[in-house]
Symmetry: C2
Amino acid sequence: MPDPDLAFATHDHAHCAQDALARAEALTAATGARMTPVRRRVLEILLEEHKALGAYDVLARLATEGFGNQPPVAYRALEFLVDQGLAHRIQRLNAFTACVHPGEDHAPAFLICRTCHMVAEAEATAARQSLDTEAARAGFKVERSTIEALGLCPNCQDAAA
Amino acid sequence: MPDPDLAFATHDHAHCAQDALARAEALTAATGARMTPVRRRVLEILLEEHKALGAYDVLARLATEGFGNQPPVAYRALEFLVDQGLAHRIQRLNAFTACVHPGEDHAPAFLICRTCHMVAEAEATAARQSLDTEAARAGFKVERSTIEALGLCPNCQDAAA
DNA sequence: CTATGTATGTAATATCATAACACGTCAAGA
DNA sequence: TCTTGACGTGTTATGATATTACATACATAG
């Protein structure tokens, strides 16, 4: 993730989403993971916007499209995507967002706009490093860490001004 | 938080808890916030161990002690404590833990042991700083950030070995 | 004393998540 | 070819977490 995240900038989102989907297809093909219709559709739904969707939001969409309409249908597909690194869970929101950089093995921080609810990924290596170091002082061994920021995205800062 | 957190070390917990409670009393007295029986009791319950308790766990305890037995009773007291900086919410666990250093204005990181479920606070200034910097590159203004680590505490590492 | 704000109690409901089991598909090996 | 086993999907039921709305009590300032 060499450049600042583009989620907040106006961009060719159709291309952005298509690109992420294509990478996802390539990745799953490579690893043998099965990208089934439900799973692909869930990823597409998540990719429509740079927002986090609750499992039940996704489920509602699926149900209208002829897929199952019970919670496990959504939760299983979401779990698959998260396991494959194609989506992320946002703890703060109990919701899920498509990964914008699938394949680039990463554990990003999330920037959550409290006004427009957009979610962007940010580089978290340095922050994680600090955390690991501090944890080590207490003898704690970090396995996974969650880093999420709540605040205002550039657009909403401008709107407020 | 100059020293590594003591939560994982064996310590005089009665004193630890009493001290935190005393600080809490002093703080609320100073600010005019009302430390009522339910609120005090909830804080005491959280202080019994260095773990995170779900709202319903707290509620069950309250109910057996003659307080109300509906969810808002617990959620309101917990919200008060969090607002006053006397407790923290652990997003990852949907649970709450008493603050060990009330008054020392802080926004710690949390170290959550996946085996014994103890929760410790760790200094997070550096990690937060990294996050703010990275967020700024995307034009994002961080207001609050959540930093939580899941892993193994020293005791459980030893036990595993 | 009484008006006001705050805290508490309670009912009802909303939201988020998982367990358990049935059925279908498909590919590997007998 | 048949069978078996793994996996994915569908469905029922339930569990876990959280909030809204309204009623009641209680402290304190005026």
